[in-house]
């Protein structure tokens, strides 16, 4: 197992470099937006990865609430943290793309706003985990994750109503995508998924180690020190 990790690390680095090359050189320049459009190859895969991680968090939270399996709890924590990292990337690259192309840093369009709310919910989740002094923090956090998951479709729906009543410029429009661009997009997504898996694995191992250390420290404090009697 120990050897797999560095091998995976190197593979990921190679894949990411190749994906970067594809995004900057191979992908054709977009007609209307120019080279700035290449941000798309980082923005969209990061969003998909973040959503996938949050989905895993939701599943792990439900499993934890039902089974109280400690591994499920660690998976929930890990995917929440790494998900927030990727979501931050989305929220930073989004405005950097919007500004030169559409002239505005931000708009309350449905995807951007939903992503922002999701980010806020998970920051709140991480804060709860950090600030809670209860012995049963995992249960509370899992409950919060369930609430967050219930909230997301409602957020989407509420912004959809808002946008139907107040039409605004559509960002990152729909329509079909050039096959070469799709290819580059998918390669970048694969690369970021590998990165996410690697980071999650690292964080998982770190958390497991931390819990072992805490347990050892707790036991240590129970044992009487030499010469105390």
């Amino acid at each position: 197992m120990k050897r797999v990790f560095p091998i995976l690390g190197i593979l990921t680095a190679i894949l990411l470099s190749y994906a970067l090359y594809e995004a900057l050189v191979v992908a054709p320049t977009e007609q209307t937006m120019g080279n700035v459009q290449r941000i798309f190859y980082y923005h969209v895969p990061s969003a998909w990865t973040a959503f996938l991680l949050f989905l895993i968090n939701f599943i792990a939270s439900v499993v934890y609430l039902v089974r109280r399996n400690p591994v499920a709890d660690v998976i929930a924590l890990v995917t929440a943290e790494v998900g927030v990292v990727f979501c931050t990337v989305v929220l930073v690259t989004g405005p950097l793309w919007a500004r030169p192309v559409w002239g505005i840093w931000w708009t309350w369009d449905i995807r951007l706003t939903s992503t922002l709310v999701l980010w806020l919910i998970y920051i709140a989740y991480l804060m709860l985990r950090r600030f809670s002094t209860s012995g049963q923090t995992p249960v509370l956090a899992a409950a919060l994750a369930v609430f967050g998951a219930l909230d997301v479709p409602l957020v989407y729906f509420s912004i959809w109503i808002f946008r139907t009543q107040h039409p605004q410029p559509v960002i990152g429009g729909g329509g079909s995508i050039d096959p070469v661009m799709l290819h580059v997009l998918l390669i970048n997504w694969a690369a970021f998924l590998c990165l996410a898996a690697l980071v999650c694995w690292s964080r998982y191992r770190l958390e497991m180690l931390q819990r072992e250390v805490e347990q050892a420290q707790a036991q240590e404090s129970l044992v009487a020190p030499r010469g105390a009697r």
Binding site: L20, G34, N35, V36, R38, I39, Y42, H43, S46, V82, V85, T88, V89, V92, T93, L96, W97, R99, P100, L195, V199, S202, R203, L206, L209, Q210, V213, A216, Q217, E220
Partner: protein, 38 residues
């Protein structure tokens, strides 16, 4: 054009910052393990 480089750079800064914080925590844990072993 600068926005493109800014976006890619920002992405990597965010990821590297997180990984650095993980590494720092790992170092601290290692130290605590050494303390325990004594």
């Amino acid at each position: 054009m600068n926005f493109l480089y800014a976006a890619y750079t920002a992405t990597w800064i965010i990821h590297i910052t997180y990984l650095a914080s993980l590494f720092r925590r790992y170092k601290r844990l290692r130290k605590e393990i050494e303390e325990l072993k004594k």
